[in-house]
């Protein structure tokens, strides 16, 4: 089980309604149902993942989050989760607004392009970074809009999106990120998790 999923599960209260956008094979939904008695639904673009969810008895809709979030009514979920996918959309701003229309709150995680290993790769080796969280080459990456925790922080402030909490994950450690420690956490977190409303 991914550390990130455990952190997301801890962020969520019990017995709420959650939409997992880009739910993959349903591991997070499974966890939320079992540990938090959450009513979980998924949206997933890949047919093979959709089927895996169906075999597990999870509720999943095959579809593209970029164009098909409109099918969910306003505020029909307590939380909408988007795990490490925001950077892959053509229009992340539009998607983010849709997440906050469908959900009362949104949990958005991003692979942090400000992580020190990513920075050194470009600085020292002069090459586009390839890490465990960013395993792609420059020419085949689905990540069109890479950003850092700091970028995301500034973006939310600019767009008047309320940040309720930011968590940074580095290996096994999770820490809370605030304006005061933003610079350092932006350097040492692999993944940033934003709780937005």
């Amino acid at each position: 089980m991914k550390k990130e999923f455990k952190v997301i599960a801890e962020l969520l209260p019990k017995n709420v309604r959650v939409l997992d956008v880009g739910c993959g094979d349903g591991s997070l939904m499974d966890l939320l149902i079992k540990e938090k008695n959450i009513e979980a639904r998924g949206l997933e673009i890949k047919e093979e993942y959709v089927k895996k969810c169906i075999y597990k008895g999870l509720s999943v809709i095959e579809g593209n989050a970029e164009t098909e979030l409109h099918q969910f009514p306003d505020q029909s979920f307590d939380y909408v989760v988007l795990s490490q996918t925001l950077q892959a959309f053509y229009n992340p701003e539009k998607v983010l607004k849709e997440l906050l229309r469908v959900g009362k709150s949104a949990i958005v995680s991003i692979p942090n392009f400000g992580y020190w290993k990513v920075r050194t790769s470009l600085l020292i080796f002069g090459k586009m970074p390839m890490t465990k969280t960013l395993p792609y080459n420059w020419h085949n990456t689905p990540n069109l809009h890479m950003c850092t925790i700091k970028d995301m922080f500034n973006f939310c402030n600019e767009k008047n999106i309320k940040i309720d909490k930011i968590l940074g994950i580095n290996e096994d450690k999770t820490s809370q990120i605030k304006r005061s420690n933003l610079e350092i956490k932006n350097l040492f977190s692999k993944i940033g998790i934003f709780l937005l409303s």
Partner: protein, 375 residues
């Protein structure tokens, strides 16, 4: 007709056309055994030209049942495990109350004196069968095409009588294109002079030419352009060159003629008129004041909507509209599009990805339903 199980429905049923009927036969078949907990019953609804003989040998046509690819011992819907029920629709011609049955008032077959029925009438008549079999809550309702419409209608009319529902390749109302194709089929039947306003039935003959054309129209719409091209292309039928005639030179012509004329041996022309009409009248949103959202309100049933990428009769877009309506009503819905070239027919043929999906859904729903019953 032997080998046909019939239930006489004695309670009265008010049809959508305002006529009340009672004491009418409903022909049905079951496969597998209802278990002690009664948590393994699946109600299958057949499509336009189907019947109650889902799997195994159809005792009337002596051919495989229409869903033998999906239902049977060890199949995706495993009859070693599940109790599968299917009834012939009213308006049909395989033993249920339909236009070829005898009208007790006149002692003659109904013909066009049979009332125009709807998908809701069809579904409501089948609920009695569940009472008779002692099933309070089904594990699943499912069917493709018109069978899918009946699944949706069942959930809307009898909320929470089923734990799960799997409507396949269908929609919540018939599109203009669907109506147009059905009208083509009806006009083909009615243009045959033998049809004689439906009175052929008293003369014990059948408007074969018209009915065969109606079936050909259907067969074209069940295949995809690509599937048809790959299967037939411009291949000639058992000849090296054109005949310079109107014989079936092309394989695709030969296929259509074969399908058309094989069909007239087992189906009643008036039934085609009545059942296609029921499909055209189907519009779930019209039945509820608040439209589709109202139709699916307070549903605890778990839905899986399935579409086929090359189906142009009930497109993925139309199936997704069903999903949107279910979502808007807050229902628990899953959706999968099966990528295939086999067109609308995909649910009837051996399409491994489809079969795996329905098996995965039903097996997982059974586990959940068992747990729910235990609590």
């Amino acid at each position: 007709m032997t080998n046909i199980k019939k239930l006489n429905i004695s309670k009265s049923l008010l049809l959508d056309c305002k006529q009340t009927i009672k004491d009418f036969p409903l022909a049905y078949e079951t496969y597998g055994k209802l278990n002690e907990n009664k948590d393994n019953a699946i109600l299958v609804f057949h499509a336009l030209t189907g019947d109650q003989f889902v799997t195994g040998l159809n005792p009337i046509t002596k051919k495989d049942g229409w869903w033998t690819t999906a239902v049977g011992p060890g199949k995706a819907i495993d009859t070693n495990k599940y109790f599968v029920i299917c009834a012939n629709v009213i308006g049909g011609c395989m033993g249920s109350w339909g236009p070829k049955e005898i009208d007790k008032k006149t002692n003659e077959p109904y013909g066009l004196n049979f009332p125009v029925i709807t998908i809701r009438d069809i579904v409501r008549s089948q609920e009695t069968l569940l009472e008779y079999l002692g099933i309070k809550k089904l594990l699943c309702v499912t069917g493709g095409s018109m069978g899918g419409m009946q699944s949706l209608q069942f959930c809307a009319t009898f909320p929470n009588r089923t734990f799960s529902a799997m409507p396949i390749a269908c929609s919540t109302s018939h599109s203009a294109q669907n109506i147009a194709l059905n009208e083509l089929a009806r006009q083909a039947v009615m243009a045959d002079p033998v049809w004689d306003k439906g009175k052929y039935i008293k003369k014990n003959i059948q408007p074969k030419n018209g009915l065969a054309v109606a079936r050909m129209v259907g067969h074209i719409s069940y295949l995809s352009e690509k599937g048809m091209q790959e299967k037939f292309g411009r291949k000639l039928q058992e000849r090296g060159d054109y005949d310079f005639s109107f014989n079936a030179d092309f394989q695709v012509e030969s296929y259509l003629r074969h399908q058309g004329f094989a069909f007239v041996e087992r189906f009643d022309a008036n039934s085609i008129l009545y059942i296609t009409r029921a499909m055209d009248y189907f519009d779930l949103s019209k039945q509820f004041k608040g439209g589709l959202t109202e139709a699916f309100k307070n549903q605890k049933t778990k839905f899986l909507v399935i579409s086929f990428s090359s189906d142009w009769l009930y497109t993925t877009k139309e199936n997704k509209e069903t999903v949107i309506a279910l979502n808007a009503a807050g229902a628990d819905v899953s959706f999968a599009e099966i990528k295939t070239d086999k067109g609308h027919d995909s649910f009837l043929v051996n399409e491994p990805e489809f079969l795996k999906t329905i098996k995965g859904f039903i097996d997982s729903m059974h586990l959940k339903f068992k747990n729910e019953k235990r609590i």
